[in-house]
């Protein structure tokens, strides 16, 4: 059985349909790259999986838990999937350590010493244990994004959604974040990432999903998709990159 099952998902904003029947099954441990033009619905799809947007039709389930629009189901789902954003979205009033501990203590009611131990371990994993007491605005963009990853990992999710997590970074900071993601992938974390880093997608991902006008237009292993694009839209898209 697949870990994430997305079936016939449709999503509209007012009269415009942004997702037009998405089907995608993701197995545990898979690393999926979602590529496509601006406006093709990549972010919307990730946001739907995390319940940040409500879907109009279809169904999404994660590890058997159905996505339903009430707080109990949403919370259960969000404990299973973490999300990393383009803009990091760290809590500016909390230290790095505080950021990684907050949801553990508040949502999971983990006792503070235990939450701190987990926080230190996760920060160690992203190479930032020494920044435990720093505030987010004292860190570089790359460091902030790694803290955001540690914060999501601290909730022990079974999958991570990443929406262009390196797009807001200076070019020289991209690789340190990708290195962390690469390591997560190697450890068997299930990842769905929207990315413009084609080389990374080719090297690390098990499957590439090409989205076009609200549909999954082409999907396959990276060697297939990149070397032998089937549709003119994908050919054109790859030509631009």
């Amino acid at each position: 059985m697949s870990l994430i099952e997305i079936t016939e998902v449709r999503k509209s904003y007012g009269a415009t349909e942004v997702l037009k029947g998405i089907n995608l099954d993701v197995a545990s441990g898979e690393v999926i790259a979602i590529i496509g033009k601006s406006g093709s619905g990549k972010s919307t799809l990730l946001r739907c999986i995390n319940g940040l947007e409500t879907i109009n039709r279809g169904s999404i389930s994660v590890a058997g838990a159905q996505l339903l629009d009430d707080e109990v189901h949403l919370k259960a789902l969000r404990l299973k999937v973490g999300m990393i954003f383009q803009q990091f979205n760290l809590f500016p009033h909390q230290t790095v350590g505080g950021n990684v501990m907050l949801s553990q203590t508040v949502v999971k009611k983990t006792p503070k010493p235990e939450a701190e131990a987990i926080a230190r371990k996760m920060l160690e994993r992203v190479g930032l244990a020494h920044k435990f007491d720093a505030y987010p605005d004292e860190l570089s963009g790359g460091q902030q994004q790694r803290v955001a990853i540690a914060r999501a990992l601290a909730m022990q999710p079974i999958a991570l959604l990443c929406d262009e997590i390196t797009s807001a970074l200076d070019p020289e900071l991209v690789s340190e974040v990708l290195a962390v993601v690469r390591e997560l992938a190697a450890e068997g974390m299930t990842l769905l990432m929207v990315t413009h880093e084609m080389k990374f997608a080719r090297d690390v991902c098990s499957r590439v999903v090409f989205m076009h006008q609200g549909r999954v237009h082409e999907v396959g292993p990276p060697e297939e998709v990149f070397a032998r694009p089937q549709t003119p839209e994908l050919k054109q898209f790859l030509g631009l990159h």
Binding site: M83, N89, V107, Y135, A148, A152
Partner: protein, 219 residues
């Protein structure tokens, strides 16, 4: 005729200043509590609650405070409720202050980046947890300068309650003037006392604002 020394005048005015201060504190604290409730209604997920708070705020911001005082004082009298001046003054000022503070604070909550809501939601926090641990701590920092600044308006607002007969600083000024026939001296002193109350507040509001802008953007 009795001679009044400057000290006699000042002493009487200062005694009345107590009531200005008490009324200001009551209005500000009471208004803060009601204002907080309004804030939560104003940003709640239920549309009916949001509208309710919106109409309340528009009503109190859209009518003069003096009319609100009259209605609290005379209006309730029509229902056979005998309202003493202090009660009408306190009630009207609390409700008026709440409308303004609620609206100021709503602006501060909405100034918190949308990504903060999304990040905390994606970590599994419920609405109340998001408010308590993520949104309000950030909004409160932004809220301090305008809130302190508004307290000046509250103090000045209490002067209007003299019209319904509440004896605070302004009313005392009128009474003392009637006895001394020295309006310029008396009202000059009244103005000075108001200034001594308000100026430190508006000044600290300015300083706080500058500090928050200069200091680390976020903490």
């Amino acid at each position: 005729m009795i001679e009044f020394t400057l000290w006699d005048i000042l002493r009487n005015l200062l005694l009345a200043t107590r009531w200005t201060v008490v009324l200001s504190l009551v209005s500000f604290l009471g208004g803060g509590i009601v204002g907080l409730a309004l804030l939560f209604l104003r940003i709640s997920k239920r549309k009916s609650l949001r509208s309710l708070a919106k109409y309340y705020i528009e009503l109190f911001q859209g009518t003069p405070l003096l009319m609100q005082l009259f209605i609290a004082f005379f209006g309730l009298g029509l229902f056979g409720i005998d309202v003493p001046a202090w009660l009408a003054a306190g009630l009207a000022l609390v409700l008026w202050t709440a409308a303004f503070l609620g609206e100021i604070w709503r602006g501060c909550v909405e100034a918190v980046a949308k990504g903060q809501w999304e990040a905390s939601a994606s970590l599994g926090m419920g609405w109340l947890q998001q408010m308590r641990y993520v949104i309000l701590p950030q909004a409160m920092k932004v809220a301090v300068p305008p809130t302190v600044g508004f307290s000046v308006q509250v103090i000045k607002g209490t002067a209007l309650t003299s019209i319904i007969g509440f004896v605070e600083l302004s009313k005392a000024g009128t009474v003392v003037t009637n006895a001394t026939f020295q309006p310029f001296t008396v009202y000059g002193l009244v103005a000075l006392i108001y200034f001594a109350l308000c100026w430190p507040l508006s000044k600290s509001s300015q300083i706080l604002e500058r500090k928050l802008n200069v200091a680390h953007r976020n903490h």
